[in-house]
Subunit: 566 residues, 2 copies
């Protein structure tokens, strides 16, 4: 057969091979198989394939064939103007080299192909619409044996095909990578919102940042407005405990710059950035190479109610340090980290706002509790202790966390109605007359009125717990007040607080009698179990006492005194 | 030239053309140009290209060439076993038809090519690894003029190429679509978190759902535990106001099923689903065709503090109705909506938790305010009015929303120290003696102690506003109490509350005197401006009064009485 006859068949075969190769959508696989094909067509002994990274103007060593020694070079990056590959890229033309080893352009450092004796080279830049995508080099080919023009045409066909497929595989890989990261970000952002506990939140943000950006460490700094400085709240990496809670003045270092200006800063070589503050690395032993630093900017948040909106502000900044796998920070990294930081800032701010309101509420309740007990100087600390005892009983009874939370509030307020009982009755040293006694016994009703008049009964949080106020003087046998309810008609909260209330009353100091000894007090409760008290609640209190969860007024004050002594 | 000589050139040309076409990554463009090329190679007069949708086992009419009439068919779907295209797909073999018009397999409904006189057809199934991807049909080609085997080989080459490119373009398009949607979802999820105001939140969720899923309407249902039913909180689409706030029993309809079981339900033809509840459509006039219904499942949320965690639960469900552009709900739609719903549920729950705590706090403050005023029956409603007046003054002075919020709380508590002043002094009908008067003048100090003893001074929310308690009896000339501060040494909050306090004191009823007429009261404040009062605060009160924002005790009670009468 002559060449003319062979040609169509050969073309068809090669194109069918190319079609098969093109069917892969995996970039690495594609590059590997296409280099194989070009080596085969040109009857070369070895070959290399580089991809061009336009962002850094570098060539990345992606595939090497025919030289096991060359595989050590995989993944290495070199400036795009280096060696024969760089020459091909700059001139955007394929060319032959007849004596590689003696060519002055040959880069020995990166082009080292081990034991292979390099003679000729054919070098083809991969161009897409005139722009560089990569370079293919094949060595020691048999070009002299065939029609050079035909061969060049064929290789041009193949490489122009290759470049299209590389581009598509890259696009797909990048899109899938972004899709995976966006998907991960959605998961992260959703998961962040499930905690308003600040330390847990900061831990999660930091660990997500490391995972998402594939960096060696991350850190979070928050502004302390009171002391006007920046606090390192959490840092990853080894020895991070050495730098935790570190403070730096506002404006210092890259983080300071970012927090003051709200700008994102990316530094791929911190040693060259004068803003980089060395102190932290010195302290932790961590060696910072590259930093991506973004502001934590909380947006305006609509709270509704009396508070309305709270304004947006920068609350701190976050850093990602040292991308893994020799990468530098990409634009995608920056956008991703900014998005994560923005959501993190929102949730940190939400957590603060919730914490503020919750603390204010908790302390106001404590203040009311204190004020109730102040009305009668002899019941100092009573409401707080009744609350603690009630919670201990409820825990023994296995109530849910939510019920216990509600019981804790309600039991603190159990005597709130007493604020309506006049001082001259409440503080009367002697015996109350019948009218005074009747007034005194109205305090559970006054308590309910206190809740109702102020719209507190409508709230889900108090919807069941009001019974702690209303029913803590009821008795199982129906001889209690104010309603005379019997047995199970008395709510569980009412029965719990009744036991806690009596236990504290008899074990604390009163002007007219000393505290009852513990054993006697417990015996009294046990004797009343079934008539006055719910036996399950009495048993629960006794179990809790055995575990050390129930301390009387004296015991508690001694404990506090001995703590203060130490 | 003979065929043998032309062949390589022709192959190369065609393959170069194919390479150029393959460079596009846009699916539609790719299909269009590849059909053109096949028509050209086969010298056909017309052609069509279908893509196969494996999810529905349908062929979608994507490209038509050479028949303007056929363009009406674009986008139409037909069962994959229909006509010659279906035949090719089922047999997975290309074939010729010599007389299309009389072929029994020819589908006249969908294959209508208008005025074109159809004679021959060449039909090629597009297969990727043996699985159908689509079908190409070309009509009235010139196959008899060329070597049929060669031609088949060439077309096979091209179509096997085509199918790879179609697959890649599809993968890329799908990946980019998912990426866009994930990106949109991140934005949405982040934006949701910036409001804890429930109605605003529900509106946002619904509008995001419509946008993200490209549906005609969406709705949100929440469980009302108290009434044990489901409430339609917000619905999109026309006439949605007719169905808003509608209630249905738990378990009814598709939404009821989803909420009870926690399962996602997708129904692409609701008329065939017996669970579909027609009532809503009848009421709104909306015609539901397809439903995607997901549960709103809030996860466990860590709140920290005394409350700890709150358990996860299903709080309701959300529906997306009628995908636009004739689509049906895809798996991507389902996953996307589930993710959105999960985040929506989290934020709805957070908003509830914040609202609960905030309401409890607000009402407890109101309760304390009421209790303070109760101590002295003649100052009924005083603290609340002083708070309202202070807020009105602050608004006139242009204070920020956050400052006003803090002032509102602090001014309600301005007299809280009075709870430590004994009843016999506070309620004494006659003149106080010197000792009693001194005790009475200690109430600002007692107020600060109340805040400090209960850890309230440490809170950011009260960090500045405590001055409202401490300094509301100071005077600009230094003759006030308890500190005798002068001028600017008195905080703005102190100066505001001082004016509000005196104005309410003189315009309300006291046992020993009638309320001062308004004009006299304002004149008194103006006379005191500069010595006793901050002139700016006095002016602000006068401006607020002119706008109707300041109502005295009498005016307020009359307003309430007349409202009750109506």
């Amino acid at each position: 057969m002559n060449d003319q006859e062979q040609a169509p068949k050969r073309y068809l075969e090669i194109i069918q091979r190319a079609n098969q190769i093109a069917a892969t959508t995996q970039l690495d696989d594609l590059l590997d198989r296409l280099l194989d094909l070009i080596i085969e067509i040109t009857q070369s002994e070895a070959g290399t394939l580089y991809l061009y990274d336009a962002a850094t103007d570098e060539l990345i060593f992606k595939v090497v064939k025919g030289s096991p020694a060359g595989e050590a070079l995989l993944g290495r990056r070199l400036p795009a103007n280096t060696g024969l590959a760089g020459y091909a890229l700059q001139h955007r033309q394929p060319f032959f080299v007849n004596d590689v080893a003696n060519d002055p352009r040959w880069n020995r450092t990166f082009g080292e192909m081990g034991s292979l004796d390099l003679r000729t080279m054919f070098c083809v830049p991969l161009l897409l619409r005139g722009e560089p995508v990569g370079v293919v080099q094949v060595f020691n080919g048999a070009f002299e044996a065939v029609d050079e023009q035909e061969e060049l045409l064929l290789i041009d066909l193949l490489t122009s095909r290759l470049v299209t497929e590389i581009e598509k595989a890259r696009l797909l890989e990048e899109s899938q990578q972004r899709e995976r990261r966006q998907h991960a970000l959605v998961e992260i952002v959703s998961h962040l919102t499930t905690t308003l506990e600040r330390d847990e939140l900061l831990r999660r943000i930091m660990s997500y940042a490391c995972e998402l950006l594939e960096v060696e460490a991350a850190s979070i700094w928050l502004i302390d407005h009171e002391r006007n400085d920046l606090v390192l709240h959490i840092a990853g990496g080894e020895n991070s405990e050495r730098v935790e809670s570190l403070r730096v003045p506002r404006g210092q270092g890259i983080i300071g710059h970012v927090i003051e200006t709200g700008e994102t800063v990316v530094v791929n070589d911190v040693q060259r950035d004068h803003r980089f503050y060395q102190g932290l690395d010195q302290r932790s032993g961590f060696q910072t190479r590259a930093i991506l630093c973004v502001p934590l900017r909380s947006p305006q948040i609509i709270l509704g109610g009396e508070r309305g909106e709270v304004e947006g502000m920068i609350i701190g900044g976050s850093q990602a340090l040292n991308p893994k796998h020799g990468r530098t920070f990409s634009n995608d990294d920056i956008v991703l980290f900014q998005t994560l930081a923005s959501q993190a800032a929102t949730v940190i701010r939400l957590a603060e706002l919730y914490r503020e309101t919750d603390s204010l509420f908790t302390r106001i309740i404590a203040a009311i509790t204190g004020a109730i007990d102040l009305k009668d100087p002899y019941t100092r600390g009573h409401s707080q202790r009744v609350s603690d005892f009630s919670v201990a009983i409820a825990q023994e009874l296995g109530l849910s966390r939510e019920q216990i939370y509600q019981l804790r509030i309600a039991s603190k307020l159990h005597d709130v109605g007493k604020i309506r009982v006049p001082d001259h009755i409440l503080k009367k040293p002697g015996r109350l007359d019948e009218e005074e006694f009747a007034e005194m016994r109205r305090h559970p009703l006054y308590g309910i009125e206190f809740l109702r008049d102020n719209g507190l009964l409508e709230l889900d949080l108090l919807r069941e717990s009001w019974t702690a106020l209303a029913q803590h003087h009821e008795r199982l046998d129906g001889r209690g007040y104010p309603y005379g309810l019997k047995g199970e008609d008395i709510s569980l909260f009412g029965r719990i607080v009744a036991v806690a209330d009596v236990f504290d009353a008899i074990t604390s100091h009163r002007p007219y009698r000393p505290p009852m000894p513990i054993d006697e007090a417990l015996a009294l409760l046990q004797r009343g179990a079934g008539t006055e008290f719910d036996p399950a609640c009495v048993e629960a209190l006794i179990r809790a006492r055995a575990k050390g969860a129930i301390l009387t007024q004296d015991e508690r004050e001694q404990a506090i005194a001995s703590q203060t002594m130490e």
